[in-house]
Structure formats: structure tokens, C-alpha cells
Symmetry: C2
Subunit: 167 residues, 2 copies
Amino acid sequence: MQKQVEYSDAIKTKYPEQVVIVIAKDKNGKVNPVTLGWTMIVSGNPPMMAIAVAKKHYSIEAISYSRCFTICYPSSEMADETLFFGSKSGRDTDKFAECKCNAQPAEKIDSVLLSDAVANFECLLDSQAEAGDHIIFIAKIVCSHMNTEPKKRLYTTAPGHKLGTAS
Amino acid sequence: MQKQVEYSDAIKTKYPEQVVIVIAKDKNGKVNPVTLGWTMIVSGNPPMMAIAVAKKHYSIEAISYSRCFTICYPSSEMADETLFFGSKSGRDTDKFAECKCNAQPAEKIDSVLLSDAVANFECLLDSQAEAGDHIIFIAKIVCSHMNTEPKKRLYTTAPGHKLGTAS
């Protein structure tokens, strides 16, 4: 049976929710990673994905400048860097330099891949749309990578940024 | 270590992926449900969600006509109707009439809620964007409901529309 409730209560049923790390270089060439839960595939042919980024986030500037970014699926072993990238701002921190995670250059865009991730998708910005307090970036995937070892994806499993596996 | 692979291989790492049932009435008043995996929250204030619907799907017509829809989080007990709504077209089937699932009128939009779902969100279409072979519908949530009983959300857990829980 359904009961009408506040959105803030109903949305607590969303878990587990996938987590991605999105990486774009800013105008100074600084690699700026951010952790996002709001992402989806949006096209099969061509392959495309979308992300929603809070308007106040520094990543808006970085993505708008470089017009390309990596979408990484962090593995269940990457909870520390995933939390770190989601809790600091690239406006006053070099998050990528502070966090010693393994990375390598992307193949087809000017960004980096996270070597220990489950998968990495290189994305070229196609369009964007405004949605309330966020900007939706819609991008074509131009190159895909996956880990040579089997890894489990990381999810937010409960409120308060509780991370874990989901299967 | 990352290895460059085809997108079709890399994207197999996406599971578990959330499932929603989106319901919009068509121009004849027929209740048209469709199962989607491509959805995300896109704004916190105001609360907004987005869905990506294949251009060939009948739901494009229904949503474009009524400009409102329900996003339901099906429960783990709703695998049968979730598969059914995702495997038939509303163009030549009255999916909702054929499937005896419990429903009730929405409160603030001209649509229905699924009574056994984990949660239901009533959405007013705000804007839309094109993305390859899909249309992204971006909507404001104007009313929220959740089940009075604790329920688990349904996820696609593996390729081939394998459904199950994810925690």
C-alpha cells in the first residue's frame, strides 16, 4: 500500500545507487576528479552517457572548459579515494595530486583513466541541459577500457555516503 | 590494469543496474507502463529526475502527449510485471489491462501509482534533450509515495534481463 510522504523520505528507497568518478582537466591542466551518483546510460548506438553535476561544483568549470571527461566505475577497493574525491572541491585542492591513486593517460581524449577501476569510459561532450540545481552533461563514449582482473563496482548502499558492493 | 575493449564488453560491468517502471497515459487515456534501466536523479532542490526512452518506443508518444508520468521503483516481488512491461509495446497492446497489478490514481498528475512498488514519484515534464537513439525526459517531482511495508528495490543483475535484489 502506498502512503504519500515527503520526497526526502521516499528517495531513501533508492539504495543501492551506483557511484562513478568523473575526471576532467581544468583550464590550467589540473586533473579534477569528482564523485557522482547521478549518472545513466542514454544511448546504445552511438554509446552515450549522461551525468548530473551540481551547479556549484568546480567540475562544471573543468568540463565546460575541456569538453571531455572520463567516467570511471570505481571498484569496491576504491572506497577511500571515492569518498575523498566526493568530499573536497577542486577549486582549492589538487585532489588528484593529494590522492595517490594509480592512473594512466586516456587514449582518445585529454584526460586520465583510473588504473584500478572496474571500467573507464572516455567521453566527448555532446550537449548539456539545465535541471534545477544541476547541469546534465550528455556525452558520446569514444573509447572504453576495463580491468584485466574481475572487480566489483562500488555503490552507495545507505544514506551518509556509506559505500560497499551491491551483489 | 586497464585494457582497451569494445564498449559492448566494458558496459557489462554496469550491473546491478536499477530498474524503474514509467507510466504515462496516451492520447486515448490508455495507461502505458514501460520498464527502463536508464534513469537518474538530476536535482535536489527542486527534486527532479530524468529518464532515457528509446526513440522507437510508444512511451515517447504517451509522455509527449500527457507531459507527466509516474516513476515507480518496482519491488523485488514485481519481477513478472517488470519483465512484461519491458517486453511488449503499448502501440499494439494494452499492457496495463493485461497485467493484473495493483494500481491507484496519482494525486497530482493524470497517471497511476503501482500500489505494491517500493516508491512512486509523480513527475511533471520540464524539458527534454536528444541523445543518440534515445530522448531524455527531465521532470519535476510534484508528489512522492512509498510503501507502508519495507520492500526491496528490483535491479537488473546480469545481461539478459536477469532481475533480482542488490543488497
